[in-house]
Amino acid sequence: MRPFNPQFMLDVIPNLLPFLWVTLTVVLGTVFFGSLLGFVLAQAKLSQKPRYRWLVDGYIYIIRCTPSIVLLFIVFYGLPKFCLEVFDTDINRYDKIFFVIVTFTLLFSAPISEVMRSAYEATDHGQYEAAVSIGLTPWQAFYHIVLPQATVVALPNFGNSVIELMKEGALAYTIGLIDLIGKGQLIISQNYGAYALETYLSLSFIYLLLTLGVEKSFLCLEHALSRQKKVV
């Protein structure tokens, strides 16, 4: 057995770090689009019409049962065919990051819609009614009164979902995206399969720092936002 080489673990990090941006782009893009889609889903779930609620419930159930790697491949192979057939546009040549973000948006929106819905339901409905009764429009009441309170409630779960997403995002390399993991695999194959363990350990160290960083920043954000909150 080849001896373990701790020095390589440090040496490989400067080669990996430039690709941190790809991973972060995937996460940030997914959080942005996934939150938008999640917002729409949460609204549909809160609507009066049962048929929308069933639709959203079904969607959330299916996403809950689907491994990300399966959805990733379905989107990667299926979406170009689908677009060619229906919209007559060729997206085969699109960058792979596009397919990754589409997949993870679908995956991320389901739990996030539940987070948003429960946060909205956790804020007292009287707050909204009071705001409307003093003359705010429904949108103003939502934006100025309900949203700031719901955000504080949603933050811990939102942070957990982002961490979950970041870990799932490690699979993006399986369709050929060169992110942190993809670069790691390239380095391993450049070394003819040697130093695999060292590279993987460096990668997991980077991921560990990332998840701890996300966790900490969400905690700080929560503190900053809940400062005005007074417990009666």
């Binding site: 057995m1 299916i62 809950r64 049962c65 689907t66 491994p67 990300s68 790697i69 399966v70 959805l71 491949f73 379905i74 192979y77 299926g78 065919k81 689908f82 057939e85 961490i163 970041m166 870990k167 799932e168 995002g169 490690a170 699979l171 993991i181 695999a196 363990l197 993987y200 350990l201 990668l203 997991s204 991921y207 560990l208 998840t211 701890l212």
Partner: protein
Amino acid sequence: MDINYQFLIKTFYLVLTAVPTTLNITAVSLLIAMPLAFYLAVVRMRPGKYIRPLISAYITFVRGTPIFLQILIIYSILPSFLNSTAKYFALEVNVFDWNPIIYAYIVFSLNTTALLCEVFRSALGSINKGQLEAALCAGMTTAQAYRHIIIPQALVVAMPNICNLTVKLIKGTSLAFLMTVKDMTAVAKIAASYGYNYIEAYMDVFVGYIIVCSVVQVLFDFAEKHVGKFRLIKQK
């Protein structure tokens, strides 16, 4: 869209034949992880100087890194490690002939242990300490108190989380193909690679996982009702 329906149906049956492998990995990992996780959770709740930070570090590592990397780390270290150990003790075994499913058991048990430990810890934390004290007062030993008083109550609290964890574990086993285990995903992948019918194959796997997860969730619903039977006041 030109979908090869014949291939779709044929592969679906093929994928179904691999369902036992997926369930096998899930069940064995859960069975190994449960006692370990329970022990760690109990140890973690007791005061202690050296063991607690170690358990915390282990849990942080498992929760902070993708399972994908955990699989690759274990799979790149364990076979050669076992092989050199076997050589060191001059054992006549060839580690590389073993079924790779063993490594899947190890990886997923290690992963599940850490996650289950958190579930058990929160469940045990929800039980009033007075329950344990009352049981000890009534003359039970600590083991009896846990067996008859604490665990039945904690299990009711932990059940929904265990269900979530099991579904996650089933989804996680789709990565077992990295260790050349022939689970549902791997079987479909191999079938698809002959004729580049990837969409059909992955559709089959998609449906397969939904069926498996649904069955498991229904079973957990029954189990939840069963372990909660002693409750006099039904919640909700």
